[in-house]
């Protein structure tokens, strides 16, 4: 199974956004991958993986993949003893990418279970397999709130924006201790917000950056339909109209608590930088995959207006005035973006010393209108993921 010189990778989270993109590129580079994953409702793990490989256009690589039904919450990952021992004997590295990315406080228990409690199984596996490296995909936001300069060191933050950040910070600490104790080299890779491929626009997931755009587009479409097909009674009531040049005027004031940036990187950068880290770092370390040229919501709003032929979006920094009258579009939009709001005007600056060294100064691209357009057009083409697999 193993390629001649490449280490054999045991990968979790291969069906998720980052994991799948990482898997695809690694396969193209000739790696052999043991996918530790789960059968979904109507699809076996193998079927899921081959569907993904097809989407990436690399079905030919299927025989580089060994699909193993594994349950991270179970002893020996729920894998039968003989098979478990066999896997231990072949795996050289672990990349732990599986994670519950929900921000919702109501899902605390589930998020903590997936991201923290379930670590034990995969860590034990690393020990039993005697792997030389454990690569953990974390997030830049383990830095927590109230910090302005975030170093590439373990987080000691006490307060976080949401349970996801908190769970990832806790996980980093647990993994780090375990690896130290068992002499396993560890790299912690911390991406900021990841969007689709900067060249092709392709992506498997459409949250984070996409969500505000998608929300605004939906609201736009509701009013466009009202204006075009129903006499626009509701639109007119809210001061919404179609301009002479065909642009829709839809007042949408978005309040963000203070000035700040939106730190986003494309998934191709995430993949290339991660592979460089895996291949180059002999000692391990912590790496911020962040953007030195972050964008802002003002820029994104401008891009949005241009692409969607809309006017009226206003980004206002500062607290929202009390008793402010919001139109229905604004009220709903506020609710839509609530979980993402802290990331939309962020003051944190990320240290990238380790990353620059390990990736030969590989940098993510600046977020231009062309990249925005390519990514959003792809998202719309696949109906924000609903028709991604046809």
């Amino acid at each position: 199974m193993a390629g001649k010189n490449k280490p054999v990778i045991a990968l979790t989270g291969a069906t998720g956004f980052l994991g799948s993109h990482l898997m695809a590129t690694m396969l193209k580079k000739g790696y052999s991958i043991i996918v530790l994953g789960r059968t979904a409702k109507n699809e076996s793990l193998k079927e899921r993986i081959s569907r993904l490989l097809q989407w990436f256009g690399i079905d030919r690589c299927l025989d580089q993949v060994t699909c193993i039904d594994a349950d991270l919450s179970q002893y020996n990952l729920g894998i039968e003893n003989k098979e478990y021992s066999r896997l231990c004997s072949v795996a050289d590295y672990v990349i732990h990418c599986a994670s519950d990315t929900s921000f919702s406080e109501s899902k605390r228990e589930k998020v903590m279970a997936a991201n923290v409690n379930n670590l034990q199984g995969i860590l034990e596996f690393s020990k039993n397999a005697n792997v030389s490296f454990f690569h953990y995909i974390s997030t830049a936001y383990v830095a927590g709130t109230g910090v302005t300069y975030c170093k590439e060191i373990l987080s000691s933050a006490k307060s976080f924006t949401n349970v996801y950040e908190e769970s990832k910070a806790a996980a980093e600490n647990i993994i780090s201790l375990f690896c130290q104790k068992n002499s396993i080299s560890l790299s912690i890779i911390r991406p900021s917000i990841v969007y689709g491929d900067s060249q092709s626009g392709r992506s498997l997931k459409f949250n984070a950056l996409y969500f505000p755009i998608r929300s605004a587009q939906s609201i736009r479409d509701i009013y466009l339909n009202d204006l075009r097909n129903n006499g626009g009674i509701k639109a007119t009531k809210n001061g919404i109209y179609i301009d002479k040049d065909g642009y829709l005027f839809l007042p949408l004031k978005i309040y963000l608590p203070h000035e700040g940036d939106l730190n986003i990187i494309p998934v191709d950068y995430f993949v290339n930088a991660t592979i460089k880290i895996i291949e180059n770092c002999s000692q391990g370390g912590i790496y911020h995959l962040t953007n030195n040229f972050p964008t802002t919501m003002k820029i994104v709003a401008k891009y949005y207006e241009q692409l969607m032929k809309v006017r009226g979006v206003e980004i206002i920094y500062g607290p929202q005035p009390d008793n402010l009258l919001r139109n229905p579009a604004e009220e709903l939009f506020d609710r839509f973006i609530e979980p993402y709001r802290p990331y939309l005007s962020d003051n944190r600056v990320f240290d990238r010393t380790n990353t620059s060294l390990a990736t030969d100064n590989l940098n993510p691209p600046e977020f231009t209108y062309d990249i925005f357009k390519t990514c959003m057009e792809y998202a719309i083409e696949v109906n924000w993921g609903a028709s991604i697999f046809g």
């Binding site: 899902k107 479409d221 839509f336």
Partner: protein, 621 residues
């Protein structure tokens, strides 16, 4: 095997449509305000209503009977006005007028070809019967008797009676009973024949009570005395006109029949009660033909309850004094969504223990989408949207005054209010293509349905769905859409309070396939209810029978509830009939088992003919 139950109606032959008549008697009431078949109103026998003509045509086309005198009269009295198309399409997506046309053609062609008309002769008994009720109101003509051969039960096979008689007074009933006793003739009482246990057919004589439609209000005493031919729909209309409400179940059910059979139950039973809660007094003709009044000390104690499956009927109920309930002008309906049945159960329990709400009922996505959708196809599309996109597998319908609605709001439950319900209902077609629904689901990530708490969500929801009677009506057959558009412009058609008190949509449940319910009275015990649900499902699956959760309504301050689980079958498919019988038997055994095990579970068949009992005797003994 004639498995054409799911074929769309326009592709069905008249014979196939006729065979699919659901026999719900809804064409006997004016539930759409479009009028009722005129010949039915005049001649009264079910044979002169669309339902009867369907059965008659089926019998003629299937060569079960030949053309008789009455046959000619029944076919001739249809003026092809098309009213039954509106009614039947609304409920079952069927167009009976083509059957009516086929019936007329059949009879005309038969006569033109010199076919012999079968004359029915009065025998001695019929002559005696006619002496009591008059010439027009008793017959042994096969064209009439055959239309009384069906009921809704899967358990019994059709039986053609020898005679049908329609008395007009309790005295006539008394004389009839004495006559039948003397001649040792079996007789069976028939309301509108739509009880689901199936005991309204027999050989011998059928006594059809539909002529006895007296309604006398006694407002001082909060009661209305009705004859045994009064339907729930007609009485509710009269009561509403005077500012009252009655506890009514199926709109086409005759009230006396309903009380007699198993007691009236509806979502309003949460506060109005069941069984003896619904009436104040009743009059009977007993088996020897004597009259008795329930409130007399010497009368049989019908308030008692015995846990027996086939208790004898105490006689013929010839009037009932039904309780009137006050109505306030701030009553509204809301729909409270839930992700799990357990959460919905906790909610209805809490509400009924705290006396919040007048009417409460849990329905599943199948029920609600079937009720709201004008067609079967749309119902299944909408069901998926409810479950997958809106994440609403369960809804609790609440009717309450402004204080009740405010309390639910304060309890922190997001809900669709009356206005949003109207948008949802008349905007259903837009829901099918609404891309923004995916976002709404994501909004629920933190707190289920929290979008309903966003102040102006209702306005955006309405803007997005662009609800209108026209939009809704586009979903139905082209020729019928102008009628539907007008119909849905009427305020009551989208008013949750009206819809719950008249229940005109519940027979839509049988639109896809006729159904047989398992009905139980039991505590609101989540484990027990889930257990029943799972086991009913397993029984049905074992026999390849479609099935779904029906509804749950709390009763008696949340101490108990009524739970309906439904099994669907094609009653034109002998194999499916065998299987549904098996399902019915195993479900009843399951209920019996739990009944013994828990001491708190009662099955509906055990209430048959004990509808007059005190609910406490039924529920707690």
């Amino acid at each position: 095997m004639q498995n054409f139950v799911n074929k769309s109606d326009d592709k069905k032959t008249p014979y196939e449509t006729a065979r699919n008549c659901r026999h719900y008697a809804m064409c006997k009431i004016d539930f759409l305000g479009s009028g009722v078949c005129e010949s039915g109103l005049e001649k009264q026998f079910v044979s002169f209503y669309p339902q009867g003509r369907m059965i008659l045509y089926e019998a003629l086309a299937g060569n079960k009977i030949s053309v008789t005198q009455k046959c000619i009269e029944i076919a001739g009295s249809c003026n092809l006005c098309g009213k039954c198309d509106y009614q039947c399409y609304f409920l079952n997506e069927m167009r009976p007028t083509k059957v009516m046309e086929a019936l007329k053609n059949h009879v005309e062609t038969y006569i033109k070809n010199g076919g012999k008309i079968k004359l029915s002769k009065d025998d001695d008994l019929l002559a005696e019967i006619k002496k009591i009720v008059g010439d027009n109101w008793a017959t042994n003509d096969e064209a009439i008797t055959v239309t009384y051969s069906h009921d809704l039960s899967a358990i019994s096979d059709p039986k053609v009676p020898d005679y049908v008689v329609m008395p007009n007074t309790k005295e006539e009933i008394s004389s009839l009973v004495k006559l039948f006793n003397k001649n040792k003739i079996t007789y069976t009482i028939r309301g509108n024949g739509q009880n689901l246990l199936g005991f309204a057919i027999n050989d011998g004589v059928i006594i059809d009570l539909n002529r006895m439609k007296t309604i006398e209000f006694d407002e001082k005493n909060w009661l209305v005395k009705v004859g045994p031919g009064v339907t729930a729909f007609d009485l509710q209309k009269q009561a509403q006109k005077r500012g009252y409400r009655i506890n009514a179940s199926e709109p086409a059910a005759l009230l006396c029949a309903n009380i007699m059979c198993s007691g009236i139950m509806s979502t309003f039973s949460t506060t109005y009660g069941i069984n003896a809660d619904n009436f104040i007094n009743a009059e009977f003709v007993n088996h020897s033909g004597s009259l008795f009044n329930l409130n007399e000390i010497s009368s049989p104690n019908l308030y008692s309850y015995k846990n027996l499956q086939h208790k004898d009927s105490p006689g013929i109920c010839v009037s009932a004094s039904i309780r009137l309930h006050p109505v306030t002008d701030d009553e509204k309906g809301i729909l409270v969504p839930f992700e799990t049945l357990n959460n919905a159960l906790d909610f209805i329990k809490d509400c009924s223990v705290r006396h919040i709400g007048l009417a409460l009922g849990i329905v599943g996505a199948e029920y609600i989408s079937t009720f709201l959708s004008p067609t079967k196809k749309m119902a299944s599309e909408i069901k998926n949207i409810f479950v997958d996109k809106l994440n609403i597998p369960w809804l609790v319908v609440v009717i309450g005054d402004k204080y009740a609605i405010r309390s639910i709001s304060e309890m922190g439950f997001p809900f669709f209010d009356q206005n949003m319900f109207k948008s949802l209902y008349l905007g259903l077609p837009s829901l099918k293509t609404a891309q923004w629904l995916d976002l709404v689901k994501e909004l629920s990530d933190d707190e289920p349905y929290s979008y309903l708490k966003v102040k102006s969500f209702a306005e955006l929801f309405e803007t997005a769905l662009s609800p209108s009677p026209r939009l809704y009506s586009q979903e139905v057959d082209k020729e019928l859409s102008p009628f539907f558009e007008k119909l849905f412009s009427r305020q009551e058609m989208t008013d949750l309070v009206w819809l719950n008190m008249y229940r005109i949509m519940s027979t839509r449940l049988g639109r896809k396939k006729p159904f047989l319910p398992a009905l139980i009275y039991l505590p609101i015990d989540n484990d027990l209810i889930n257990d029943f649900s799972d086991k009913f499902r397993l029984i049905a699956e074992k026999h390849g029978i479609d099935n779904d959760f029906g509804f749950i309504t709390p009763i008696d301050n949340g101490k108990r509830c009524i739970f309906e689980y439904d099994f669907f079958y094609d009653y034109n498919d002998p194999d499916e009939i065998q299987r549904i019988r098996q399902v019915a038997m195993e479900s009843n055994m399951l209920i019996d088992d739990y009944s013994v095990k828990t001491g708190t579970v009662k099955g509906h068949p055990y209430v048959l003919y004990q509808g007059f009992c005190r609910k406490e005797n039924l529920l707690y003994s």
